[in-house]
């Protein structure tokens, strides 16, 4: 009986320790598979992936760009950028996707999207909304500081 209880507690503990995966849509899952195929590095460790789209106006663009450049507990950042746009040429850790393909996955939102990957598994996904980026950063940091 004691052993059974111990076994049950171990299972309960290991289940609570498991990271919470985000339920991705069908198209987002396809995108993530393709992304991991393109960059094997993302399969190990913690990574922030920004889907960087151009905003509608210069001012908004600056806000989004500043957000991309912020420090997120020194987590490695990767940028998914539209293949056709030369605008993002000087960015590091850049993976190109045709903008049409991104749109097909529902990832052509005006200010971009963000994924957090832990060992290739998506644990956080949000669309960037200008004016609400402070809150988004807090949410991201909370996920990043969560112990595995």
């Amino acid at each position: 009986m004691k052993n059974k209880l111990l076994f049950f507690l171990i299972i309960l503990f290991s289940a609570s320790c498991q990271q919470k995966n985000v339920q991705l849509s069908h198209t987002e899952s396809i995108f993530l598979d393709k992304l991991l195929q393109k960059d094997q590095v993302l399969k190990k460790g913690i990574h922030i992936v920004f889907i960087a789209n151009r905003s509608e106006c210069g001012m908004c663009e600056d806000e989004a760009l500043a957000f991309y450049n912020e420090d997120f507990s020194q987590t490695e950042k990767t940028f998914v950028v539209p293949q056709e746009d030369k605008y993002y040429n000087n960015w590091k850790n850049k993976i190109s996707f045709p903008s049409l393909e991104l749109a097909r996955y529902g990832l052509a939102n005006t200010s971009g999207d963000v994924f957090i990957l832990k060992d290739g598994v998506c644990v956080f996904k949000k669309t960037l909304v200008l004016g609400k980026l402070k809150k988004l950063k807090q949410e991201m940091l909370k996920v990043l500081y969560e112990k595995p």
């Binding site: 030369k86 749109a103 996955y105 005006t110 200010s111 909304v129």
Partner: protein
């Protein structure tokens, strides 16, 4: 077959009580069979009728003209580091000559056809634009700035001089109105009288250009007499535009021919013609035969107001939309492109995009009567612009433009030659 067998069996058998009841039984079955047959026939007839009816609709979609296509690539480089770029000549295959003008700080690229004395505006996104209206007069360009200044750019000397300010000569400010930048893609000026300068106006926008006044019915177009400096107002903002109820498809486009102003809506086939001399206006509706799913009112989840922009964009992509009306001075016809409604996802479960949006070319006669429609071999949303050529129309797709912060490359894509009736 059952019918024949039943009849033969009945003839061979002798009459008896039992036989009579069997006969009655068979007769009953026979009647049911006949009724079944009749109902099937009736259903079949109904089906055939409905098919024929659909065929009739399809026949109206069949084009009367012969359309041939040429794919073109015309590249233009604009240097945004200079204030005034000047004109670059484009020679088309049918010897029509167009000149493209570009101005730093302007939201438009100008295409001038001196052969037909017409000017087209192309929406050209530049966050630092300050000019809101332009017009060519004797090879000079007149530009109206947001602050109300009318500036003249000389084509040959590159000199500029400020003529006057519209706010000092009118009560527009008191009326809460200001010059409005052109709607994407529209606005064509043809045979404009020497001393006339047309510009669009809007009412009560905030600094970011966001509408906060719900007022409807205010004028949308101004006609300025350069000699007398008198400004006359025309048009009427529909309620729909004010409430932005159709999201991205709430635009009105304006076409100026001589003393007439022709306003066309994005969200329906409505066209209104205003005579600026008599102040008479005629409103007509010319809907595309492909316009089978009506536009839905734009809405978003009030619980998540942060997703407004994306919701608006999605509504814009999926909704039916009428592009600006263009006039062809060479044949007197008008053209516009219609984009039918589209489903959110394709057969593979992936999202449809702006590059999946069908495009239908609508052809109107000189009385703005729809005379033909043809489904184009390109799929593109909204950003398709038309340029009349001698035997048809050219389509310009600015989305194919590349922009690296300083230089811009513009591409002309398709020419449609419209031949005689079949």
């Amino acid at each position: 077959m059952v019918n024949i067998v039943t009849k033969i069996d009945l003839c061979v058998m002798q009459e008896s009580g039992l036989l009579k009841s069997i006969k009655a039984h068979f007769l009953f079955i026979y009647l049911i069979y006949v009724m079944k047959y009749l109902s099937f026939t009736l259903l079949f007839l109904c089906f055939t009728y409905s098919c024929n009816k659909n065929k009739g609709t399809a026949q109206t979609l069949k084009s009367k003209f012969v359309y041939t296509y040429d794919t073109l690539q015309r590249t233009y480089n604009g240097d945004f580091t200079k204030n005034y770029v000047g004109g670059i000549e484009l020679h088309w295959r049918d010897s029509t000559t167009y000149v493209l003008y570009d101005f730093c700080g302007n939201s438009q690229l100008k295409v001038i056809d001196f052969g037909s004395d017409s000017v087209f505006s192309v929406f050209f996104s530049n966050p630092q634009f300050e000019m809101v209206a332009t017009a060519f007069k004797k090879n000079d360009l007149l530009a109206l700035k947001e602050n109300g200044d009318i500036i003249r750019y000389c084509n040959y000397t590159n000199n500029t001089d400020t003529l006057f300010n519209i706010f000092t000569i009118s009560n527009l400010k008191k009326l809460g109105m200001e010059p409005s930048d052109y709607r994407p893609g529209g606005d064509q000026f043809i045979h404009i009288p020497e001393n006339t300068f047309y510009f669009s106006i809007r009412k009560d926008y905030d600094i970011k250009g966001k509408l906060y006044n719900k007022e409807e019915g205010y004028p949308t177009v101004a006609k300025l007499d350069m000699n007398t400096k008198a400004i006359t107002l025309f048009g009427s903002a529909p309620r729909c535009v004010e409430e932005q109820c159709y999201g991205l498809n709430s635009c009105q486009h304006t076409l100026y021919i001589d003393d007439s102003i022709i306003i066309s809506n994005d969200w329906n086939g409505e066209i209104s013609v205003i005579n600026t001399i008599t102040n008479n206006s005629i409103i007509s509706v010319a809907k595309s035969a492909y316009d089978t799913i009506p536009i839905q009112k734009w809405s978003y989840d009030k619980k998540y107001p942060e997703g407004v922009k994306n919701a608006k964009w999605k509504h814009g992509i999926l909704s039916p939309c009428y592009d600006p009306l263009f006039y062809n001075p060479y044949n007197g016809n008008y053209y516009r492109i219609f984009h039918p409604a589209m489903s959110e996802k394709n057969a593979d479960g992936l999202y449809n995009t702006q590059f999946d949006k069908k495009a239908v070319l609508m052809v109107f006669d000189k009385n703005l009567q729809l005379i033909d429609e043809v489904l184009l071999p390109i799929k593109h949303l909204r950003i398709i612009k038309l340029y009349p050529i001698k035997d048809g129309v050219a389509i310009y797709i600015p989305e194919l433009r590349t922009y690296d912060g300083e230089k811009s490359t513009t591409m002309f894509y398709l020419q449609i030659h419209i031949k005689n009736e079949k």
